[in-house]
Subunit: 199 residues, 2 copies
Amino acid sequence: MDRGLIISVSGPSGVGKGTVLAKVKEIFPEAGQSISVTTRNPRGEEKDGVEYYFRSKEEFKELLSNGEIIEYDTYVGNYYGTPAAPLKEMSSSGRDVLLDLTIEGSVALKRYFGEDAITVFLLPPSFKVLEDRLRGRGTEDEETIGKRMEQARNEVLRASEFDYIVTNDDLEAATDRIASIIKAEKLKSHRQAHRTETL
Amino acid sequence: MDRGLIISVSGPSGVGKGTVLAKVKEIFPEAGQSISVTTRNPRGEEKDGVEYYFRSKEEFKELLSNGEIIEYDTYVGNYYGTPAAPLKEMSSSGRDVLLDLTIEGSVALKRYFGEDAITVFLLPPSFKVLEDRLRGRGTEDEETIGKRMEQARNEVLRASEFDYIVTNDDLEAATDRIASIIKAEKLKSHRQAHRTETL
């Protein structure tokens, strides 16, 4: 059986990653997604293994020291991390996984999973367009926009660490490009070898 | 500017390579094709550089010893080879090239051009289907069909030496797969690096 691909998409804030990923999921509805591990307490109806895996700080640190957390961050005193085990299981069972990760997260994913991971950097058509989009949200002041633009310029320098670079000049075109990448990756000869054996 | 890709498609006799390649060319009408070098004399209206590059045996041998012929074969006392220079020129000028090569030809192309070359092995859905197709042509006797099937079984063992393996179970699907491969290869980060630089 074909192993599933672990595909992550990263890009600067405002590039439209969420919208593109939602469109890609429409094309690959069977693809799984990652559930983060967190040390914060469940709120309301949240269930373990649905919104998050809820773990104690001790458990999280043990996962971390066992190399079971691919990347993590802290927010308001709690840890949030991407656990490796569910991704391994989905890939082994032949299921693709689509991930929305930070730049660091994608780089760590590639280091962890090697050729089972496919990393895509989503690029804005220009910095001007990115700035216009950030401003168009109307939720951030000029100082925040300035900081995000500076961060974007730094992040774009890391695009070469990714497997693929896709320009998001148009939602349909960007979606089609990522779909082509996923289709092509499945056709690589090392993933198709079993077909010649069973012919 | 993006370098053009040198894409070759190979597969066993009867797999439908010519039909699939014609369909792929409809999607990439701007792609160039290779013109062979031959030592046979021009016939009728044939012009040098159109149907073939016509060269003397001495000239051909010189090209060969200079490493300017990627792969060659002999037929009725004449040489037929794939020259490297036109492919280099098309690739450098940003033009893609689509090639119909033998298994050996694709392997030699990959050795010659490295990552500028993309090799695709076209696989029949089953040996049964391949045999039916060969028989359906009605042009070959049972002995020839038997030999072609034996050859096909040996050729399929070499599929893992190619970059991609595409099953030709359906003309439209196989065409779409090869188109996805070409689109995805263009999005590889080492081919897109200039985009982040000029952003």
